[in-house]
């Protein structure tokens, strides 16, 4: 298998200067907001007490367990998000039905394979999102992640013929494209469109 395309960006270099610091602050504030929301949902009601308690807990969490600087450089696209969500649900149902069927099929022992899939946009965020979604949707599971190379090693369940491996590779690419279309930055979407034609899959 050959690599899908050249990697030209430096993945997630930490930003310096005022803009970088602003970004960090924005990320921290968003994380704070989510934590306060989770705290209120856990208590089951929104009240001033819960808001205050949530703020204290969230600040403590962010101080003592600081997040690695994975900043969100893209923007949310409603259409892309909707398309991703609908496909995600459909494929989750299909994958679940498939695994459930071969689980209860008497005397059936599934064969499997481990394939390597290179992501076209090897940022940390895209790597994490694609890996998460891949574990849930098609008949795949992440075994190993090579962060520097932007490589995912994927375990494919229920392989019958070599073309199944190509189909699985294609699924990874399609999923990545859908994620980028939902949350990627404009530059990433453009790179995805103008990316080199895939040599591995017909």
């Amino acid at each position: 298998m050959t690599g899908a395309g050249p990697i030209t960006t430096s993945p997630n270099g930490p930003e310096r200067g005022v803009r970088g610091r602003m970004r960090r602050w924005r990320d921290q504030l968003i994380a704070l907001g989510w934590l306060v929301l989770v705290w209120n949902l856990l208590w089951g009601e929104f009240s001033w007490g819960n808001l205050l308690g949530g703020l204290l807990v969230a600040i403590a969490v962010l101080l003592f367990f600081p997040l690695p600087p994975v900043t969100f450089g893209g923007r949310l696209r409603l259409r892309g998000l909707l398309a991703f969500g609908v496909r995600f649900v459909v494929e989750l149902i299909r994958a679940s039905a498939h695994v459930a069927r071969i689980a209860v099929q008497p005397g059936y022992i599934p064969r499997s394979a481990i394939i390597a899939a290179r992501l076209r946009i090897p940022t940390d965020l895209n790597l994490a999102l694609t890996a998460e979604a891949l574990s849930l949707v098609p008949g795949t599971l992440i075994v190993e992640v090579d962060r520097d190379a932007g490589m995912l090693y994927v375990h494919v369940l229920d392989v019958h013929r070599p073309s199944d491996l190509d189909a699985a590779r294609e699924q990874v690419r399609v999923l990545e494209r859908r994620i980028i279309a939902a949350v990627g930055s404009t530059a990433e979407v453009r790179r995805m469109r103008s990316g080199p034609v895939d040599k591995e899959s017909p």
Binding site: E45, L92, A100, L136, L141
Partner: protein, 142 residues
């Protein structure tokens, strides 16, 4: 012994059919409230979720090695839990419970793949997989 004169005769099939008057149909339709529909959908979701969880458990038991077992522990299991949550949400229908249920669902979606990956990686690195059942291994060539 003669039947008591005061008792009505036992209902016949014709009587029962005759009972389906327009009024009865309207009553029946009136009973199909959004709440009743939600209850039924909730019941269906609960049963479907339970069946999927059962299939996941059977898969974990029957699949040949750790990696294939993690497939059963992610896909049908996660969908099973989500369906159970949906069923509970359709039955409870109160905002406080819905918030908690949404939280459980999101955390389940976020954590199940991570757990599966950690276990899968550990299983691969310690060689706990059946290579006879593996058609290709591009990680070994790495």
């Amino acid at each position: 012994m003669t039947p008591a004169a005061g008792l009505p005769p036992p209902p016949t099939a014709a009587d029962r059919l005759g009972a389906v008057t327009p009024g009865a149909v309207a009553d029946w339709l009136g009973a199909v409230t959004p709440g009743a529909v939600a209850d039924w959908l909730g019941a269906v979701s609960l049963v479907a979720g339970a069946l999927l969880s059962l299939a996941a458990a059977i898969g974990v038991l029957r699949f040949p090695d750790a990696l294939t077992r993690m497939h059963a522990a992610t896909k049908p299991q996660v969908l099973g839990v989500l369906l159970l949550l949906l069923g509970v949400a359709l039955r409870l229908r109160s905002p406080a419970d819905l918030g908690m249920i949404a939280l459980v669902g999101v955390l389940q979606l976020a954590t199940a793949p991570v757990a599966a990956q950690m276990i899968g990686r550990a299983a691969y690195r310690s060689g706990r997989l059946d290579r006879k059942l593996l058609d290709a291994d591009e990680l070994a060539e790495h």
